[in-house]
Symmetry: C2
Subunit: 406 residues, 2 copies
Amino acid sequence: MAVNLEAPGELLAVPGVRLATGAAAIKRPGRDDLTILIFDPGTTVAGVFTQSAFRAAPVLLAQERIRRGDVRALLINSGNANAATGEAGLADARVLCEAAAEVLDIPAESVLPFSTGVIGERLPVAKMTPVIGVMPDGLSETNWPAAAGAIMTTDTVAKACSLTVELEGQSVTITGMAKGSGMIRPDMATMLAYVCTDARVSQTCLNALVKVAADRSFNRITVDGDTSTNDAFILAATGRAEHGIIDSPESETGRALLAGIESVARTLAQAIVRDGEGVTKFVTVAVQGGMDEAECLKVAYTIAESPLVKTALFASDPNWGRLAMAIGRAGVRDLDPAGVQVWFDDVQVMRDGLMDPDYAEAAGAGVLAQAEFTIRVMLGRGDAAAEIWTSDLSYEYVRINAEYRT
Amino acid sequence: MAVNLEAPGELLAVPGVRLATGAAAIKRPGRDDLTILIFDPGTTVAGVFTQSAFRAAPVLLAQERIRRGDVRALLINSGNANAATGEAGLADARVLCEAAAEVLDIPAESVLPFSTGVIGERLPVAKMTPVIGVMPDGLSETNWPAAAGAIMTTDTVAKACSLTVELEGQSVTITGMAKGSGMIRPDMATMLAYVCTDARVSQTCLNALVKVAADRSFNRITVDGDTSTNDAFILAATGRAEHGIIDSPESETGRALLAGIESVARTLAQAIVRDGEGVTKFVTVAVQGGMDEAECLKVAYTIAESPLVKTALFASDPNWGRLAMAIGRAGVRDLDPAGVQVWFDDVQVMRDGLMDPDYAEAAGAGVLAQAEFTIRVMLGRGDAAAEIWTSDLSYEYVRINAEYRT
């Protein structure tokens, strides 16, 4: 059902990053649901996390430990979010990190925990620790495909990609993976995304890179407008490449690395929408001509999250009246409808706030019949622009979410 | 399919208000789609309108004329919203008001136009004017049931009710009607509601009453979070009753009248949710213990508009993890999860931010199996409270909105 989304191609090993997976039957038996990433000493790690007031136990612990620094490993489980579990959930996360730290021979505080799945249930710690105990035997730099599969929950396709960038004549690798399909309106970064590189980057610079990359990728997608309790996006740089250390995202190498990270992060973010629950359309909403980026984003999200717009997208119905409705209610101060233009791909449907006299419904319907297209809105009041990616709202979304957990 | 909603009971005539309906085949033949209300001279009229930037032509004209005062008649059509129609739409609305004014023998500026239905199409003025020409023959104080039917669009049940209040020993009548089923998240008042009374009320006082009544009724409902381009709520007081004139909503008679108007408006607003598109559940979301009303409303609307919560309601699934998710992302500053309590009717499901240890899923499922129940949230940080009414999200909602207009 995923829209224009294939299984990952070749995933390049990142020197200094080894991965292993294991099966602990957390939600159900017969699939890998545990993943460990271990980084070589000297790796810098940065992350962004959900802004939810109900942040899950692993998020609280990972945030605390990433601030402290010296991160050496990530311990990820799917099938259970360890969210709304209070002190007991925090203790569970600590115990699991200790189990991993012991077999990896690193300090417990250097392990970051991540969980996704059902909210409000305790983790089955007793089932998980023995599996963690044997996982280090399987650690390998080539295990990205298995890891991308093990972090999935309701995802139907694994999400991962690789590329290389040239920094001072050196080839540097960037490989990332993500999971997520529902509860998708990240408010910092989406539910579990990991991007690793062998670039040499200072901690301050990496902190800046992860924020910028998140803002231009995971923070630009919405499936259902619902923000998870467990969102996290982690960027790790092992420093094994031999270019000069990157100290600023503004430097030449900093910009080149950011471009590569952004490209990987955007591919992963878009993959999450393409594999969104019940999704049949992948839609780019591009809003231009705003006074600032914030009002462009307001209009884009109001369109992207309107149930009436989303059901029209599902029906391939070029119902521009619903776009007028959404733009009108987006809360843009003193918006003059007479300045508004709207296109479906290259077909102009609204001109100066009214239906374009040259618009033919068949042309609009032709665009919307595609699995992938762009809704472009010009507000006509400034030079700012913003672009986000979203999906339609189908019977299947209702079915998946009405049946999940029951 | 409407939830606990029957056809209107007896509708009391309001002295000084006469109504007529007509059939102009605006969208399709064979049903009444035009309504006229005419008020006796001396009637005061107040209204609130959608905040959409894409306000429809009739809304712009009605707002302008209601500010001027001396309103004598309302001309309402269903089947076509006359929205996103620009200057041509304004001219159409003026022409129709003139046609009504001529046969009613009143000034054209004293007629307020209202339209609901499809966005972006011109009104069939040539079909409508001859029908308007003969409608005055049918004017009668007892035509409320026909009028409540004629203003419907996708509504499945007419929405109207009556009550009387005692003011200084005089019995005063309040009768109201409304329409609306989708695109329901009023941002002032909902799509076409009219409440009339024979009370004697000053213009200033009536302006205050309509705002307070809207805030406590139509501005407290959401079906799909989408705000219409045509929302309007009109309150008319003919002054035919013989109590002393009401000058302030704070006076004893002002408070008594407000209570009556609020009761009628709330019944109509709830009827709109009960008859919401594809609705199978009528749910009250009550948020208490906030620092102010605004944050209580933020939490209530985030719950009520979350697709994940709404699909769980449809499935009768007491999925409190999704409530935690919604409360967590509502944007309440420094919310402490440990202070949060949640109930389904009288069944406490969350205690101090965690699952209540005494909670049994069967008890929660029992509440959600009902067609009507309350989700109550205590934030534990203040004394403010707010209550709104909403619905679930069903296959049927997707079907109706994917098929409408195609």
